[in-house]
């Protein structure tokens, strides 16, 4: 015990304290950079992505490499800064990429493709929708969102462990047998 104390006191020179502070700040910055540019784990919230995610909240693994819409395809679940609420993140499935034609359904409607209005998703935007149509506020409410708002792609659920799995891209090209 006294040996550790003596060691600590011996190191508590101005230079040592400075180096320790520099290391601490550097570690904090490195962690923040990894958290913002590589990988984030976050608790989800809300019913809009049921049954893919539990409305009570799941811990999700988010790949931040895909921010600003880099490498996003139709069917990926993306996390984005909410266009009308500051500091709020949304998680929805990409329905339409720039240039695609999507049917503009009524907000909270349970039907798909019943509205007669088709819109073309503008350049640099994506059309997003929740999996739980009547309980989701998505592009049917606020329109296509700019890709610059996307800050990650949700790749897996990590907690609870019994339900840990990769998030599937459910919108695959149809395989038709003839």
């Amino acid at each position: 015990m006294s040996r550790i104390l003596r060691e600590t006191l011996r190191r508590a020179t101005p230079g040592g304290v400075f180096r320790l502070t520099l290391d601490g700040v550097g570690l904090f910055c490195a962690c923040t950079l990894i958290w913002e540019h590589l990988i984030t784990v976050q608790l989800s919230e809300g019913p809009s992505m049921y049954p893919t995610f539990n409305p009570r909240g799941d811990y999700l693994l988010i790949s931040r490499v895909h921010k600003h819409g880099r490498g996003i395809e139709v069917g990926d679940v993306v996390r984005f800064y909410h266009p009308t609420f500051l500091g709020v993140n949304g998680a929805k499935r990409v329905i339409g990429m720039p240039g695609d034609f999507v049917c503009r359904d009524l907000p909270f409607s349970t039907e798909v493709g019943k509205s007669q209005e088709m819109i073309q998703v503008p350049e640099g935007h994506v059309y997003v929708g929740g999996d739980n149509l009547p309980w989701s506020r998505d592009s049917r409410n606020y329109g296509p969102i700019p890709m610059g708002l996307i800050n990650g792609k949700i790749i897996a659920r990590v907690w609870p462990l019994s339900k840990a799995q990769w998030v599937q891209n459910t919108m695959q090209p149809a395989q038709l047998d003839d």
């Binding site: 570690l27 490195a30 950079l33 600003h68 266009p83 500051l86 500091g87 700019p146 890709m147």
Partner: protein
């Protein structure tokens, strides 16, 4: 020999934390950017007519000013006249620089490429326009509509090169241009832009977040 190796490793060990600190600083505190294109002429890139390739170097405040002060917060105090950088809604890989012309609740009489004659800026959005007098020279809110505040990355504080000057957003309302002592740009700089804004035309309420 071994001593030199050891010495080098020791220097590297001391310098190692500098790298993440520097990256963090340029991303969240102060960044340096180069402005290209004519959209902010004559405010930035003053000599665009003579030198198309000359680019102004600007100092950008990336810290989320006006909030509790955490770098990951996105709360920002925005005022009319601030020159901000933001991710272009039309091209997510591009950082654009424009001036805040209208705040939420303002009614804007739009200019040329815009299809609507007037537009009310919605909650958490701002109206951004370039300073260029010719609408064709600027790709701004008149093309892609009001811009979400979540897209804004920073505020331009100063021009560092070729002529150093601090930028003060308060001068916008008075029609002043920083560093323009001889009033080459006129007494009431860009008053026609301010005339198209009717401030706080509607009272916006925060939409419910259920």
């Amino acid at each position: 020999m071994g001593c030199v190796m050891y010495e080098r490793l020791r220097v590297l060990r001391i310098l190692a934390p500098i790298v993440p600190i520097g990256l963090f600083f340029s991303e969240h505190v102060l960044g340096v950017m180069w402005v290209s294109g004519p959209s902010m002429t004559p405010y930035l890139n003053e000599d665009y007519e003579q030198m198309h390739t000359k680019r102004d170097m600007v100092l950008v405040n990336m810290w989320p000013w006006g909030g509790a002060g955490w770098p990951w917060e996105r709360t920002r105090r925005l005022e009319r006249g601030m020159v901000v950088t933001f991710r272009s809604p039309a091209n997510p890989g591009h950082i654009a620089i424009k001036r805040v012309v209208g705040l939420p609740g303002d009614r804007i009489t739009t200019r040329d490429p815009c299809m609507k004659p007037s537009q009310i800026v919605p909650f958490n959005h701002v109206w951004l326009e370039g300073d260029a007098a010719d609408p064709k020279r600027s790709l701004d809110s008149n093309t892609y509509g009001p811009v979400s505040i979540s897209l804004i990355t920073g505020r331009v504080m100063a021009v560092m090169y070729p002529r150093f000057r601090m930028l003060k957003w308060t001068d916008w309302e008075q029609g002043l241009v920083e560093g323009d002592v001889e009033r080459k740009l006129g007494d009431n700089y860009r008053h026609e832009v301010r005339d198209r804004v009717s401030k706080e035309a509607v009272k916006l309420e925060r939409p419910v977040l259920s």
